[in-house]
């Protein structure tokens, strides 16, 4: 094997700020806070111009909400509560007023389940804008309208063109855009909601007509809400190699303790235990493969899977049910965060 792998072939690109900053060398300069509540972890990152540039992200506020299985009703309600709270804080940071008109945009393809988060969320949104034209506004509600622009294959048009022109006609005071993302970690698929005030880049950008939808280009706050719903095979393999290393170190330390065996019987979540891993061990376990860091490993696997057509983007088998639950959580959280009178979780 030729060891001079061209890493640029496999650009580590991620939609998630929490993943991006893991690649930064000096993390001390990044403002990051987190807390946990009902087994839900919330991380807020504030990127200034300099930090943002260094990780290829836009400056602004990023909020990441990590949770476990939301097919459970109680857990789903807990996540909804956290999303409402964080979204309200973000609305405040963006200086959005109580009566400001909002446009909610559901990005993605409604006919492709893993990409349908946006359109499915729009179906949950309480539409009120037209009532404000007809009647005197009711207390506790604000004008909200919604757009499902579709994807280029359905419309033949640049998605950003559609959004841009509708915004210029409807003149909302702010935008919230919901979209499905790709993840760089198995562990985050369908288990992370990211919110930010840094705008969106919808669609494919064919022909260079791609327009950013953001505060800079439109002069109004653009909040993005995203959930990673797919992961590529490269990531599945690369993550498993990391886990295998941790598992190996863990087993070496504990596996022969009779007490341990008695208690755990092989079913222990070793990721939650602090066990040091080291490079010698890695080479022992993986041979030449052990010489590569994570980025190089991914680049190698990419090089292996791509020419034979197996670097699939994959999604869990249960995606239909997951999308139903996620769009319920996000749609209802938006309704609650935007209208004072909507209080039922």
């Amino acid at each position: 094997m030729n060891h001079e792998i061209d890493l640029s072939q496999y650009k580590i690109r991620t939609d998630l700020a929490v993943e991006a900053i893991e690649q930064v060398d000096d993390k001390t300069k990044i403002q990051k806070k987190s807390y946990e509540q009902d087994h839900i972890k919330v991380t807020t990152i504030q990127l200034d111009e300099k930090n943002a540039t260094s990780i290829g992200k836009k400056p602004g506020n990023y909020i990441t909400i990590e949770f476990q299985d939301i097919s459970d009703y109680q857990n789903r309600e807990n996540v909804k509560k956290v999303v409402v709270k964080q979204l309200q804080e973000l609305l405040q940071i963006c200086n959005i007023k109580e009566q400001d008109r909002g446009l909610i945009i559901g990005l993605g393809n409604k006919k492709s389940t893993p990409d349908a988060l946006g359109p499915l969320t729009i179906e949950q949104i309480l539409i009120t804008n037209h009532l404000f034209i007809l009647d005197t506004p009711k207390d506790g509600f604000r004008p909200v309208c919604a757009l499902t622009p579709g994807v280029m294959g359905e419309t033949g048009m640049e998605t950003s063109d559609i959004i841009y022109s509708v915004i210029q006609t409807v003149k909302p005071n702010f935008v919230i855009a919901v979209d499905a993302l790709a993840s760089q970690a198995i562990s985050r698929v369908n288990k992370t909601i990211q919110m930010s005030n840094t705008g969106i880049h919808p669609g494919s950008g064919i022909g260079n007509s791609r327009k950013e939808i953001s505060q800079e280009t439109l002069g109004i706050p653009v909040i993005a809400i995203g959930v990673p719903t797919v992961v590529d095979a490269v990531t599945v393999v690369s993550d498993t190699i990391q886990y295998l290393h941790k598992f190996y170190a863990f087993q070496k330390k504990f596996a022969n303790s009779p007490m341990h065996k008695m208690i755990y019987n092989g079913q222990v979540n070793y990721l939650k235990k602090e066990v040091e891993t080291n490079e010698t061990e890695k080479k022992e376990l993986f041979g030449i493969l052990g010489n590569f860091n994570e980025e190089e490993t991914k680049a190698l696997i990419y090089e292996v899977l791509t020419p034979i057509g197996y670097n699939l983007m994959v999604t869990p088998k249960e995606i239909d049910f997951v999308m139903k639950n996620l769009s319920d959580v996000i749609g209802n959280a938006i309704n609650q965060a935007l209208h004072k009178k909507v209080t039922h979780l």
Copy 2:
């Protein structure tokens, strides 16, 4: 009963030109041609400024295609063939060139079956516009894009605002808009396709912001394709009263002829027989009710049904299957009329 019925309460309004001109006194001045082929009747009407005003329609070309049951495969293919031909003629009348970019708009509510003709048709449309951005155009195809703007209850926005703004961004050379209509005759429900080059007035027009989408307002041809899919209870009753009168006259003339009885056994389509009806007979049959002309009769039934909440807009029970067939016919006819290379019916 107070015989002074205020007819303005029940404005006879129809989306179909063939229905509108039936109310005109001097029909000789209206340019109207028709032909029949494979049991499909095609009527073309050309309205000049003056004639158009007199019947409350816009001047321009109206083509009406009347057919029977299209759940039959062969009949469906025949109708498709006629729609292709007529649409091609209309494109020519509008001076639309072979390479002109078209925007197809599917009006209506995809969640309400009788109103879903537009959105369902869009699902059949061959989208090519984005391929023209990417590649060199292929011979025999033109750039086509599509929009499903939704209804105000879903979006909170004026439908005409959405359309208007997208047109201004995408800058098509012409528009084709597909919509479900209301009919003034049971006999036309799901059995008539009307095409015209006179533009559309989408949406509810709340707050006076309603915009006409037409050659006048946009400077490009706007072709409308509509099918009546609903009818109100007033029309069902009023039509039946007319049929009852014809049935009565028919029976009086033929019913006692033993030959007739032997042959038809009550199952004759008396509408296809020319039998004269007269006013005396009508009063004999219907009493006071027989004194009213069709417009007055409708106004009366409207007055009777409205206060008790029974002037329903109704649609045949089989509407799901009918919509599937109609959107197949119209969508594929548009594809064929717009692209030389699409020849499969």
Copy 3:
């Protein structure tokens, strides 16, 4: 016109007991009670063998719940409450015990909106039977399973054959079957729920293999829940003729009173006022048509509309939204009536 109309040509057949008993001459012998609550009218009829035979119905208990628009949330909840209560009473009458296993059957065609009430209701049913096989049963729940047998056009099989064979395998202690019905009155379409313990006759009964699903044939209680969702054009016309007569009598009595004009301005619901109508008036108003009673009128309209193909079965334009609400009401009411622990309306 030949006045000797053969009434057998148009058999007045109705799925609703409240409609059927209106045709009985001596109503005093029929046990009938009714009450009203939150603008919902509940009528319970108990038919013995003799009364049942006279109106072509099966003996047993019939409960009719009549309500207004359930697109309103509060009204929907009120109706749900009444359905739960009446269904619980019916379960008691049928001697169904707290732990008895129930099979819920959703009759009809899920691809045809006005016929999809059964399949849509099944989607709301809490399925618990398999949990009772796996685990110890939880307090407050009973084993419930569900079947959507489809229609003959989808399966090629007699629907009653499918149901019969599944019942013999699963051996439930009772059956609840939900179906869409045809109505003999505009006023009842989508506004009446009928429940009875008299079984069902599913499907078309082609080839005489039709099997009744009832206590008699299976030895277990079979509860039927039905909602009229369609009406034929004959009924729309016939009902309107009755209303016209009442409207005429009402106008004659009140229309010239200045007070009346001032107050009602033509929008009065004259059906709620007691105004006598008489035969002379009817003939004056309708001429020869006025000589017919309701049954004869329907027979005549049937004779007029059928040969020309216009005796459509129709449904209101809003049927998609209505089906969503009705299946929500019935599905959740079944869940609550069957499981003690399900208390949320």
Copy 4:
């Protein structure tokens, strides 16, 4: 790491006969033939009692059809043609006569896209059985009925119970059951159709009531048609490790040849080149990991991923479109194989 892995923890179980026989030591005794046509590979395996037992399969005929991307129209038509031919041969092997009545069963959950192959296929099936009850049979057609039994979570009943009871009532002469499968190889996901005459074991088999649906239990031929639509993460990783080894060997042999570099530029499908791999190389490349054979590697990865909850069953992102194409191919192939008169591909 404890090297004594308990392999029974990770039972290598596969639905595909072609995968199962790869695990057999002496393959010479198995009757296996294959041919290729239009880039479609067809393998037929005949398992006798003894061979079948050795690989945990049932004796009978297995036909495997392997193909590439069927989003391409022409390729889809080619696959359809092959499926028709092979299915006709299987019908002949099973001694099914031209007028025999068939029951087509669509297994799986219609609400979960990767599991919806069966229900989606049923929607394509030409239902004719009821026409044979009504009319004289038409030449060139046979009676066909169809069943979509649902899954236990929807019905609360054992799927095999539903099927069993319907078969006993309808008494078909043969059964064809369509289902989505799990694969043991990335390369086969959505790219393999297996047909066999060895029956099915539907459903979960809770409570030991699970019934096999086969010639043995029912006395009629039961043909199974399956497509692997999901794969587990263990397989993705294990397959990639194999590919990495082959890639390594391939690179060592060719990568430094300037000619090779010039021609392939890294995009060569090295799986199609015969390059020997060896054990020394494997240990050099993978260290300790290189000591394991495929089965042991899978067992290890299973042990690593399961306790942390990441052994997901995954499916490609495009699953909605793939299911549409696959159900079109299988449904129409069944129609053509069963009815002489259906000739359009």
